[in-house]
Symmetry: C2
Subunit: 468 residues, 2 copies
């Protein structure tokens, strides 16, 4: 059994377990009380805050503990936006932020800064998005789905020059080191580094205007109400220290294993795209997508083969839309697999994964092709409306993939395109959200020409010109 | 060492510890994931929800886990008020609710329903507070400071008849049993029953209009965002079941010990008032106040003697105001002590407490009297303005207690009143918030007449007529 989904949640670090067990005895009382059990709890809380602040790169009085990374991000966005409400309601963020940031940003006037095909923002684009009424900018330290590291220090400089505070979502990177640059707010989550669940960090640098939006109490400087989750906080701080002590060596080791996956997968598995930056990336995370593969079926098959991985494919989300990160990058979303290695992952486990993967993908492809059956759309010869002058001279094939979910529309397209001559058009009718992302990417991977999309009576018509 | 502050936080129940240890191995993964570690976590989450729902008296799909009881209350108030915003912005609550409810209610139009001297609301008063624009009513099942049990079932009936949902804060009582009556929403906190910190419960009955106000994600039915604190949730549910199995026997046993304290303290310690209802009360909690005693000094002295207790005295709060609960009840707040016994408390511990208490109070009184020194106010003979016709014939003594904190103003009054003849007036000048509550109560305890208060150039003038 190999658990390769560190980016979702890490198994508890042994140091976290020890610290938790000790703190259950010593730290269950209310740290606000004056009696000995309370004073003991207060000492543990203070010591944990000092340790976590040092590792996060801030002062202890700038850091509070929250119930999760998600709540830290929610509080940070609301608190910073309200603290600067006189400046305006504009918020600039990268298009690939975690959904917790996107949800918290919903009430505001948001500019989403695009990313390149590796998932990385350009500091210049961020600078261009800042306005006189920008109250806050948000940028993750590294992306949670593809591992690309963002130019946070550069963007922090840009923001500082404009007087805009920068919130950094450091959930994926804090285990590896502190965040560089003059950031203003920072959020993270203990269960991503091997700490227990139930603990997030929120740092707000002195001088940043901040107005907590939840009903406050006297706990955590009025920034995180409710009884402190103290034993877990103690375990979180202790394990962050332990993880950091091993970080450099472990990063070097895992980064090599990730490089192995990045280089081998495209050769081992045909029609596969490895995504994310190949150098500016987290040490332990790699993501790739496989054409003609149902993501959920692939996850299930890999689970059966003993590997726990994650996916940004549309069929693995409750909304049936592909990951907004893959969408923003403009990369293939079908058959998507994210591998994130926990510290200590052995090279043999990764080798075994690479041994097993080709067969598993082939089997899932086989299954999806068999269950799809006969060609979905009947060939037609009528010229499609609105496809330009050239279309009139050529046969146009309309493929009806309505009602079919990813990856079927792309499979239909791949199967049918051979039926038109080079230069001819294929129109795929689809009401699946993933088709909008995956058909253009398929064209690029296959050196076909993506002409464009237009609304259809049902769903959308995606027009492709055969080039090879 | 005796920990007598169960109402703040309970030491971890052995069953909670076992369940937590097991769940740290089995339940650290993301329950939203499809691989085996995720499915295992999902099973644990579902089983915990079923157990907790059964013990709370609701359906599993009506119950979500929150990071704390405080956050459950905050979410409940905001969600219910917003869900019924078309009805209005009026909220009816008892004057003795937990501060988490009062904080969450701040944005709304609040009617505070008064309580009697035992801290209990009358259902008729609650009924009278409901209006056509009342969106929500809030009532605790039992008071956290004095242990008085509220007529929740009766108030729930009244609310149902008016079509107003009732939110019950069951934090103090859920360990002892489910809440009776047709309540609509319910909140509780695991660390109050011996579960770990970091877990609250929020139940929202089907059919109750509810609109979550935080940025939502897909977790906990969109009602509690962020990664579930799963090992702690498992421990919370397991320990609630364990605590309930012992509840009846333990309630009978502790209730006797509390009855012992209630009956003995007034005889053992002169000038003491036991507060709260003597029968309609939590089994394990008793509160009393001691005249002429500094609450913080008393807590410190009891801690030194090996007893951890809590206090609602003004000097133990960061705002230097007495507990709003004692204020609403109109009972003495100085020298206030809350004793709440954990399950398993031995009779000998309570006997030892009763042995130690008189000496500790006497010592604190001695210290406060010595440090106060000479009489604070010089006797004066000028008739006080605005004290009515009779005053003209009598000497009036003005006692200057400005700048002195509770319990000094009351001590000054007690010391000086003998200097005026029976029928004469004493005016105490004080800028301490506790004086407003404690001077009238002192008059009642001492059979003196409290004439009233009036603004003074600094602070407030409290006028007392000597009757004995």
């Amino acid at each position: 059994m190999s658990y390769f989904d560190m980016a979702s949640a890490a198994p508890l670090h042994p140091v976290a377990r020890q610290a938790l067990a000790a703190a259950l005895d010593e730290g269950w009382a209310d740290p606000a009380r004056l009696y000995r059990e309370g004073r003991r709890a207060r000492l543990l809380l203070d010591a944990s805050r000092e340790a976590a602040a040092e590792l996060a790169g801030c002062r202890p009085d700038e850091l509070v503990f929250t119930p999760s990374g998600t709540r830290a991000l929610h509080s940070a966005v609301a608190g910073a936006m309200t603290g600067r409400r006189r400046t305006g309601r504009h918020l600039a963020l990268s298009a690939v932020e975690h959904s917790a940031v996107l949800h918290a940003a919903e009430p505001y006037d948001v500019t989403s800064v695009g990313v390149d095909r590796t998932g990385r923002v350009a500091a210049a684009d961020f600078a261009a998005a800042l306005r006189p009424d920008t109250a806050l900018a948000c940028l993750q330290s590294a992306n949670h789905e593809v591992g690309t590291v963002q130019p946070v220090a550069e963007v922090a400089d840009v923001c500082r020059a404009s007087g805009v505070p920068l919130l950094v979502d450091a959930a994926q990177s804090l285990a590896w080191g502190p965040v560089d640059g003059p950031w203003s707010l920072l959020a993270a989550s203990a269960h991503k580094w091997g700490g227990p669940s139930g603990v997030g960090l929120l740092a707000v640098r002195k001088g940043v205007r901040y107005a907590p939006q939840e009903p406050a109490d006297e706990r955590e400087s009025g920034r995180s109400p409710g009884f402190e989750n103290l034993p877990a906080i103690v375990a979180a701080a202790a394990s962050l220290r332990a993880v950091r002590a091993e970080a450099d060596a472990e990063a070097a080791r895992l980064s090599e294993l990730v490089a192995l996956i990045r280089s081998r997968v495209p050769h081992l598995v045909p029609d596969t795209e490895v995504v994310g930056h190949d150098r500016l990336r987290l040490p332990h995370l790699v993501t790739f997508s496989c054409l003609y593969v149902d993501g959920e079926a692939l996850l299930t098959a890999l689970d059966r083969a003993g590997f726990s991985v994650s996916s940004g494919s549309s069929c693995t989300s409750s909304t049936l839309t592909p990951s907004h990160v893959l969408k923003a990058m403009g990369v293939l979303s079908e058959g998507n697999v994210r591998v994130s290695l926990p510290p200590g992952t052995a090279r043999e486990e990764v080798e075994r994964f690479l041994d097993v993967l080709p067969g598993v993908v082939a089997q899932v492809r086989e299954h999806v092709t068999v269950s799809t059956g006969a060609p979905a759309g009947a060939p037609q010869t009528a010229a499609g409306p609105g496809t330009g002058g050239e279309a009139e001279e050529l046969a146009e094939l309309v493929v009806d993939s309505l009602g079919k979910r990813c990856p079927i529309p792309v499979i239909d397209l791949a199967r049918e395109i051979g039926r038109v001559p080079v230069g001819g058009l294929v129109t795929v009718l689809s009401d699946d959200e993933a088709a909008r992302l995956d058909i253009p990417v398929w064209c690029e991977m296959r050196a076909q020409e993506y002409v464009g999309e237009r609304p259809a009576p049902r769903g959308t018509a995606y027009v492709v010109r055969r080039r090879v």
